[in-house]
Amino acid sequence: MEAVEFDDILDDWFIESLKTYKDLHVYQLEHPTQVIEWTSEKTVCVTGYSLSKNEILELRLPLKLFADENKGLCAERDFKVAHGGFTDGPVRRLRHIPGTRCVVTNDGLSSDLQVWDLGGDDSDVIRRTGSIAGRRNVSERGSRIAARLSSPPQVLHGAQSSDVQLTELTSGRTLYKLETDSTDPLSFLQFVSDTVFLAGCCNGSVYVTDTRTSAAPQLSPPPASSGDSVLWWADASVGPHPSSCRVVRLSSSGQAVVSDLRSLGGGAVCQAQLDVQERCCNLDHIRVSWAPTLDDCISVSGFSGVVQIYNTCGWSMELQERQPLFQHRGHVVSSQQTDDSTPVFTTAHIWHPERPRTLLSAASDGSVHVWDWVDPEQSAAGSPIPRT
């Protein structure tokens, strides 16, 4: 494509972006990533998912994003590769173990995990230090991984609801096993407190488990929906108490259901039919996430090349169509993909833990964007207010 033509297409969106984004950064990785994971306040990990060799990179975010008062004096807009390493196979999932310099990965093909040391100041190489066997050898979708701060460090993992276990990182000792009969593949695994975790299945059911008790986990059935072959993903908002935690479940047909953790089995708080504009058939990349500091906001990606933000405040029990509060179309507009047959699609996104409207998103063409969006309803009443 001629450079001039390319510029023209970008023009409209870029001109608009002057008003619709406070900040916008566009990067191009050598290889696309399915993972963006915070490893510290200022660093994230990304890694490739091609079938052969891949790189794991720990990137330091540009200084400009952190300079608040003297932001203008900071010209630094680039990511810095702080540490890097090589993997022998694809990496589909990566989780940082809080309180350590370790990350745990899974290739999406088996249920085993690889353990890595990100390295310190003396070396910029990420090295593999070990592995943790999953309970089941072969797994279609690979294992989900979750972790929370603990001493000694532990990792929660599993490919199906029947093989979720909590493993001590260094010794490999199993500390807890989720005992269920069902073998539903997992699409979601998350701690909501030190001892309580949620294991969400692709069919939409969620197990609520307390590792302190030996009692059976609470099982919340899938939300009512039309369509049998619908798949579900979920995310839980973590508040000061587990009781204030809310769970959003998102289906492959774009139905979003919000429930309280307390009454997960009882019924939804509200729901909506999202305008996801599904373009791609491979649904491995669907992500739904609560905004960490904006009340009631969720973000959705993976259906196409767009990342959408929805405000759930004002949703009702009726399954109504809702429009997103904001859409990040950057990956579609500035796609570097030469193969027109497969449109670009988003592979991952995360929120900045403190800056209310800053997100990082990645797409199948290797692009990574960091964007701070402007709330179009800011002047209107009822706009999401940051919690802090």
Binding site: H25, L73, G84, D124
Partner: protein, 598 residues
């Protein structure tokens, strides 16, 4: 003793600055760049030339100096090196670099001496004397520095006049580049395919960065300008005549047109003249965008951008002004700054690095109160924005460069002590080449494997081909026999017979003999026949012949039988073989010995 190329980055510094690399290749010593470190005020800002010689001039130790582009961290120490340390040999650089260097050096000198009051610094005359030693390079033109050393410059593009340099001595070569832009890359693949340099040397200061897109930087620039204009403020953009000014102008012009903005944009006339002059001179060096604009219309016949008059600075309302000099250290940009600094609605955008001692440097460090001439204080209330548009090669860029150039070895220079194990591993893994990262003052020795071209005679070639087997393949070396004749400056490989003939020598053959005594009462022919039959039965796979002249041949070993003079029942076996047949001798001897004990 394998031939080798030595590369030593000189000086000991951190941050960006002080590029100066010494290369020893085929007995020649070349200095690549001679930069100044902008962060130091003492001798640490200069490269450490004591590595070349402890005292005295450098002329005898260097065959040439090559400067890649006009940035001060690549040429800032040149007058110091040539006039204060002492060097009278050639200094090579492209025409644009030659034109721009002295301007920057003089500006820099003025700031350092006048503003900072330094004394041990090069003078204006030294800059002039230094530039007299410069030999300008044209692109793609081979320059013979001497009988053996040749250099050639190629378009690199990261600033006006920037060049990649190809250095060749005999069959060894080195390519040096600071950074390469997209336009240059398409040019590079054309010539770089033909020679795989022994070493590709590149800076790697930004090798571990992943750059934010150019578009986002431009967006930020437009956003800041627009916000200021919308609130009625004025934007000052101090620029160097040949920096980003032209590109930023084109950007603003397009934006103004698109948004239908009315606020005036001014460009100071001094800038216009200089820029016009240089762009006309170096039109082949500018990038596509600028050339397109220049060709379509005169550089500064923009619709929205007009020539500046200093009285305009007092006009009310929003405006944008581009003015020199770039670091706010004197002249028009400083005048305007003084007028506008007190209003918080206004903005100053610094598009580049500012040297210590300048106002630009001070405000970029957050200083809000400035001491001006006559003890007057200036309150800096306007918004200060630092924007970087510089084009440095990032992680991806370096990999692409290596992919295209296909060097046999990679060498990265960055001056920091920070380890880059990951990048080194990445390069070594992907390209299966060694990656060197010498620290300042450390020498990297790269062993080369220079190819020596040799002519081969047609007869010899035909003979080798006739032997069968796979065709000659550079990836699968095969041994062959021949004689190497070195005559004058040529090398020729011929068959041994032809060599002897050419030298007028006779071929001699070496034959060895051995006598073996054997008890055997039979007649000579009978004994011979028995030996023949026996050997034939035990030595399978060998060519054994009973010849009519009364000998037995095992391959090329000849066996004769004669009666012993002393003992009528004894026979003497005479075995003889030529040098090549020796390996069979021991086999034959063993067999014959067995015959003896029968």
């Amino acid at each position: 003793n394998m031939p080798e190329i030595n590369v030593t980055p000189l000086g000991a510094g951190q941050d960006v600055g002080r590029s100066c690399i010494l290369v020893s290749i085929g007995g020649k010593n070349i200095m690549l760049d001679c930069g100044m470190h902008m962060g130091y005020n003492d001798d640490r800002r200069f490269p450490d030339f004591s590595y070349i010689t402890q005292n005295g001039r450098l002329t005898d130790f260097l065959d040439c100096v090559i400067i890649s582009h006009f940035h001060l961290d690549h040429c800032g120490a040149l007058p110091y090196m040539s006039e204060m340390v002492g060097y009278d040999g050639p200094i090579y650089m492209t025409h644009p670099t030659k034109a721009i260097c002295p301007i920057l050096l003089e500006d820099f000198r003025k700031i350092t001496v006048d503003k900072k009051g330094e004394t041990n610094f090069f003078t204006s005359q030294m800059i002039k004397d230094c530039m007299k030693k410069v030999v300008p390079l044209n692109l793609h033109q081979t320059v013979q520095v001497d009988d053996e050393l040749e250099i050639k410059a190629y378009y690199a593009g990261h600033v006006l006049g920037a060049a990649m340099v190809h250095i060749k001595v005999g069959s060894e070569s080195v390519v040096y580049t600071v950074s390469v832009n997209k336009y240059a890359k398409s040019h590079i693949s054309a010539w770089i395919d033909k020679c795989r340099p022994d070493i590709l040397i590149s800076e790697s200061t930004y090798a571990t960065t992943i750059r934010d897109s150019k578009r986002c930087r431009e967006r930020d620039f437009l956003k800041k300008v627009h916000e200021t204009i919308e609130r009625g403020g004025k934007v000052l953009i101090p620029v160097f005549a040949l920096g980003r000014a032209q590109e930023l102008c084109i950007l603003l012009e397009t934006f103004w047109e698109r948004m239908n903005l009315k606020a005036p944009i001014y460009f100071s006339t001094g800038l216009t003249e200089k820029a016009n002059h240089y762009y006309k001179l170096f039109i082949t060096w500018t990038n596509q965008k600028i050339r397109k604009t220049f060709v379509q219309r005169n550089m500064f016949e923009f619709k929205h951008i007009k020539a500046f008059d200093r009285s305009y600075a007092d006009n009310p309302g929003p405006m944008v002004v581009f003015a020199t000099p770039g670091m706010l250290h004197a002249g028009q940009s400083l005048q305007i700054f003084k007028k506008w600094a007190g209003n918080e609605k206004n903005m100053v955008i610094m598009p580049g690095y500012c040297v210590q001692g300048t106002i630009g440097h001070k405000i970029l460090n957050g200083q809000r109160k400035l001491e001006m001439e006559g003890r007057a204080t200036l309150d800096v209330k306007l918004q200060v924005e630092y924007m970087s548009f510089s084009a440095h090669a990032d992680a991806k860029g370096i990999m692409q460069l290596i992919r295209m150039a296909e060097p046999r070895n990679m060498l990265l220079v960055h001056g920091e002590a920070v380890k880059m194990e990951f990048l080194k591993g990445k390069i070594e893994q992907e390209f299966s080449i060694d990656c060197y990262m010498p620290a300042n003052g450390e020498t990297a020795t790269v062993t080369t494997n220079p190819s020596v071209p040799v002519d081969i005679s047609l007869n010899l070639l035909k003979r080798e081909m006739a032997l069968g087997g796979p065709l000659p393949d550079p990836k699968k070396p095969r041994t062959m026999h021949g004689t190497l004749i070195m005559k004058e400056n040529s090398l020729k490989l011929v068959s041994s017979e032809q060599a002897l003939k050419e030298l007028g020598l006779n071929e001699h053959q070496l034959r060895f003999t051995c006598r073996v005594q054997l008890q055997d009462p039979h007649s000579d022919p009978d004994t011979l026949h028995r030996i023949y039959t026996h050997l034939k039965s035990v030595l399978k796979g060998y060519t054994i012949q009973h010849l009519p002249d009364g000998t037995v041949m095992v391959e090329s070993i000849v066996i004769k039988v004669s009666s012993s003079a002393e003992d009528t029942n004894a026979k003497v076996l005479l075995l003889s073989w030529s040098y090549q047949g020796g390996e069979y001798f021991f086999t034959a001897l063993c067999i014959v010995k067995r015959l003896m004990y029968q």
